[in-house]
């Protein structure tokens, strides 16, 4: 039994650490992540030849401290992940619960909207929107949030249908509860464990999507240290200094892996049968 809970604990550890770094990291960062020092460009990480303890993870092409930028990058990733799932979770859950509760034409309409959303190529449309509206943190969050709600909708619809077939919903209806009361007080609390699992899946996807957008130059604008942007900026130097892209990439990999582990662990622990 212990071993089965391992993903949950490991995931919670990684995500918890990332949350703490996002919250308090910038206070502890050794340097200002925006201060350039062209005399100290490309100092390698301290364990490599030529590295120094003053810059544990080295410096970038403008001489900015890499560790400090990485730490601020964690805040950007977590901020984007959380804001996106709040937005997409609200949209998706609202649609899914309505479809699942009312059924019939309402449900058909919801499923049709979901089909349309699935047909839209996410990365392409996100790139187009950001290039037209202009890149900023807010635009990226809104764009990703408005595109990634379909998993919430599909899962909350299925869960709502299951819950609505149960006796206590009929009992609430017989007791004279209003529809809105049934949805908010009876249905929602009983599908929330499914939603938490989907939230972790979507948060991971949102973080990867932001990194890809920033990498392509249409995400978080410089000089903000988004991990995707750090990889894009290091790309021209990667043949000679591979650590410039390796460090932010590994950070991204660990964070997303942690979120997915947490999601898998929660699914087992909460007994939510959800597709991914």
């Amino acid at each position: 039994m212990r071993a089965r809970r391992l993903p949950l604990y490991l995931g919670a550890l990684i995500v918890g650490a990332a949350a703490l770094i996002a919250l308090f990291g910038p206070l502890l960062a050794p340097h200002d992540p925006f201060v350039q020092n062209l005399g100290h460009r490309f100092i390698p990480p301290m364990w490599m030849k030529g590295g120094s303890a003053a810059h544990i993870l080295g410096t970038d092409q403008l001489g900015r401290d890499y560790l400090s930028r990485l730490i601020l990058g964690a805040r950007i990733s977590m901020l984007i992940g959380l804001s996106t799932i709040i937005l997409s979770g609200t949209i998706g859950t609202a649609l899914g619960v309505l479809g699942g509760y009312f059924g019939g034409p309402v449900d058909a309409a919801v499923m049709f909207i979901v089909s349309c959303r699935l047909a839209i190529p996410v990365i392409l449309v996100a790139l187009t929107v950001v290039s037209l509206v202009g890149s900023s943190l807010t635009v990226v969050v809104l764009t990703i949030g408005l595109l990634l709600w379909e998993r919430f909708a599909v899962v909350s619809r299925a869960a709502t249908r299951q819950v609505c077939a149960l006796d206590y919903i009929a009992a609430a209806w017989a007791a004279g509860c209003s529809r809105s009361r049934i949805i908010l007080r009876e249905v929602l609390p009983n599908i929330v464990h499914h939603l938490i699992v989907i939230a972790t899946v979507d948060m991971a996807i949102a973080i990867l999507l932001e990194a890809a957008l920033s990498f392509l130059g249409l995400g978080v604008p410089p000089p903000l240290p988004s991990w995707g942007l750090m990889i894009a900026e290091g790309k021209d130097y990667m043949f000679f200094k591979p650590w410039v892209i390796e460090i932010p990439g590994i950070a991204l990999l660990i964070l997303v892996l942690g979120i997915n582990l947490l999601g898998d662990g929660l699914r087992d622990a909460l007994g939510a049968q959800t597709e991914r």
Partner: protein
């Protein structure tokens, strides 16, 4: 079955129409295209001239029906920048993306199915855990980053494969491999789950009782049943792979439709962007429809509802 097919096809057609409207609205609502094309220093006269040339000064509904009418006849307009027919641009770029996508899904199938079976047959063992970790890691690795690392390892350190472009067949290997990561985790989990269920099913117990060999039980009995949903889902996964081709084509500098779209977005060439969004949407809808129909043909229970 026929009724189900007709209903699904009608829905798919309606989805395509909606995406048509959406992809048109996307580029018109979010800003003045003429300003984007003319650049920030253009005079109002230049902007007005460009607007008139491109027909952007007409009322929106007129522009839409004109565009949709032409699109329905296969004329996707002319690129603002390349001064070439959009349909021609897409026709020349699409084969590259399609080849990449097919290779990607082929690699995904070749990796995911054997690994999924292996994990299911050793359920709960170290192998199962290791395969599960492969799926998790595959889901967590950013595709553009994996692409860059592979370029460093295979292109520069080992000199085995070209670092950019798809001039020869060797140029397709790395991008197709990276694209396959989009589909591997899902297909791996489905194969494993299906096989675990199948190996517990009564017909497998019967086959065992009949004294059939283990290989015959696994391949002829269990896998045939477990493979059905995986085959159906691989069509949908191909759609996701094509959608993800933008990033991979840019990383590897491969000139497919994804690269074309990225270039066009950067230059404000929106007839091309609209057309590529529409193309990907139609491909996805058709693949989903195929997947549904295959599923329904194989399993009549899926036809209801």
């Amino acid at each position: 079955m026929l009724r189900y097919a007709a209903r699904s096809a009608l829905l798919a057609f309606l989805v395509c129409l909606t995406v048509l409207v959406a992809s048109f609205a996307l580029t018109r609502v979010s800003g003045n295209l003429a300003i984007n094309i003319a650049g920030p220093e253009a005079t109002p006269q230049t902007i007005a001239r460009i607007q008139h040339q491109l027909g952007l000064d007409r009322p929106l509904p007129v522009q839409f029906f004109d565009w949709a009418d032409r699109a329905a006849h296969g004329d996707l307009g002319e690129s603002f920048l390349f001064h070439e027919k959009v349909s021609h641009l897409i026709a020349t770029h699409f084969p590259v993306t399609f080849t990449l996508g097919m290779l990607g899904i082929a690699i995904a199938v070749a990796v995911a199915i054997p690994l999924g079976i292996l994990a299911a047959l050793n359920e709960g063992s170290g192998i199962d855990v290791a395969v599960g970790f492969v799926a998790l890691a595959g889901q967590a690795v950013p595709s553009f980053w994996l692409g860059l690392l592979l370029i460093i390892w295979f292109g520069v350190d080992l000199h085995w494969l070209p670092i950019a472009g798809a001039a020869t067949w060797k140029g397709y290997i790395l991008p197709a491999f990276v694209l396959s990561f989009v589909a591997i985790p899902v297909m791996l989990r489905m194969t494993r789950g299906g096989m675990v269920d199948a190996m517990r099913a009564d017909y497998v117990r019967t086959a065992r009782a009949k004294g059939l060999s283990r290989g015959s039980i696994v391949l002829k009995h269990a896998f045939r049943n477990a493979a059905m949903p995986v085959v159906a889902v691989s069509a949908v996964q191909l759609g996701f792979i094509l959608g993800g081709s933008v990033v991979v084509e840019v990383v590897f500098n491969v000139r497919g439709v994804g690269y074309l779209a990225w270039e066009s977005i950067g230059k404000g060439d929106f007839p091309v962007v609209q057309a590529v969004v529409l193309l990907f949407a139609i491909i996805f809808v058709v693949l989903t429809l195929l997947s549904d129909l295959i599923g329904a043909a194989l399993d009549p229970r899926l036809r209801g509802g």
